[in-house]
Assembly symmetry: C2
Homo-oligomer: 242 residues x 2
């Protein structure tokens, strides 16, 4: 039997911690699931019965294994864990969110949740960056992580050479074009910098620089908020109906 290890980037599996995340995982990607761990203290609530039915339907391997919880969820408020195989994605020519060097797992999860909420399911990430498969990302996404394709690129040039024809909008505080005035063309790439540093000025030379204007009482919006407002506004301008 395969060893259970604390999550590390190098592993070829990751974990959905908790019943609702595991439910999303099995429902959306049963083919990814390698095994399900149940805590011996998991009760037979209505939710748990629904979950077990789903496991049966998809014939996923389920085992009661308290050791898994000690290793993977030491804080202990979780009774189901879904182990799943990581997948590599290759983005296609749709509209994308492009995150240059995002560093915070919770932020990445929140961005994914919001993006999926507004119909954007393709995310490009420029390295170095937080690991998409970190269980903290999966958890903060509230399961939306199972609805996206994420491709990592070594540099922004690697990304732009793969998608030369996407309309590139770079969100930066020094931009002169307000988001309210942008003319949106598809497919688009909405590009955002790192939490602390934002995007460097050179992005202006190959992107339309866009700013979400705010008062001078704050230095900036936080990163998920900027991405969320941008995706909301862009899809609204295109007349997307959800």
């Amino acid at each position: 039997m395969k060893k259970i290890q604390r999550y590390k980037r190098e592993l070829d599996v990751s974990y959905a911690l908790g019943a609702s995340l595991t439910f999303e995982l099995v429902k959306r990607h049963p083919e990814w699931v390698t095994r399900i761990f149940l805590s011996s203290s998991a009760d037979l609530s209505e939710g748990m019965i629904k979950l077990k039915d789903l496991f049966e339907e998809h014939r996923v391997w389920v085992e009661t294994n308290d050791k898994a919880f000690n290793i993977l969820s030491p804080k202990g408020n979780c009774f189901v864990i879904g182990e799943f195989k990581k997948t590599s994605f290759s983005l296609e020519k749709y509209s994308h969110i492009v995150l240059a060097n995002p560093s915070d797992a919770g932020n990445l999860g929140t961005i994914i949740r919001t993006a999926v909420g507004f119909g954007i399911t393709d995310i490009a990430i420029i390295k170095p960056a937080v690991d998409f498969y970190n269980p903290a990302v999966i958890r903060a996404s509230m399961g939306a992580a199972f609805h996206v394709r994420v491709e990592y690129f070594d540099t922004i040039e690697d990304y732009t050479s793969k998608f030369p024809d996407n309309e590139r909008y770079a969100f930066m505080l020094s931009a002169s074009i307000a988001i309210t005035d942008v003319i949106v063309k598809e497919p688009f790439s909405l590009i955002f910098g790192n939490e602390a540093a934002g995007l460097p000025d050179e992005y202006m030379s190959f992107c339309t620089p866009v700013v979400i204007k705010h008062t001078d009482k704050i230095d900036s919006l936080n990163l998920p908020m900027a991405v969320g407002i941008a995706v909301y506004e862009f899809t609204k301008k295109l007349g997307c109906v959800f």
Copy 2:
């Protein structure tokens, strides 16, 4: 000399942890400051010299006190702490954000940061709720907490009786009016429920129910995101320029 205690709701002081928060505190509300703690390992960086000049200008009490850091910031990546007296606010008849039973400190801080970014500085909170003066709220607000007035109410009725003439917009998933179609009247109250439960249906009877539509691949937007998009859209509809 007054004892230094770990923060508790009952205390009449709270703490700005770190140099940039303390800077915002002293700049914005020097009259609130009771004392400043410096760590003996605080260096003489440019930022620190600027900070000391500000302390001198406002004649605030500064002491080197490593014990304060052990108690208030045990993780230890902070070299300046500003202690300040809590203030009670009484909101006036402006536009407000109304949060019914928010429970998460980080979320409240992010909401405050975004609200201030879009010019809303009056926040009503319906109890039970997280404590605005919790240092985790102040920190997540990135200092925007020093730009807002926050008033707590025991019930939503207490709030509506104080502000009977505000236009009330209740954000709820079951609403039929899309935010894009709302006609905005001022002063307004943008009302949001708790992170887990949202607003109960009875809000429909005394508010205009509004929904930020999203795909069915997510259950909901997270609370700060919903508030941020709402404040962005409402102030945009009013033609606010920042």
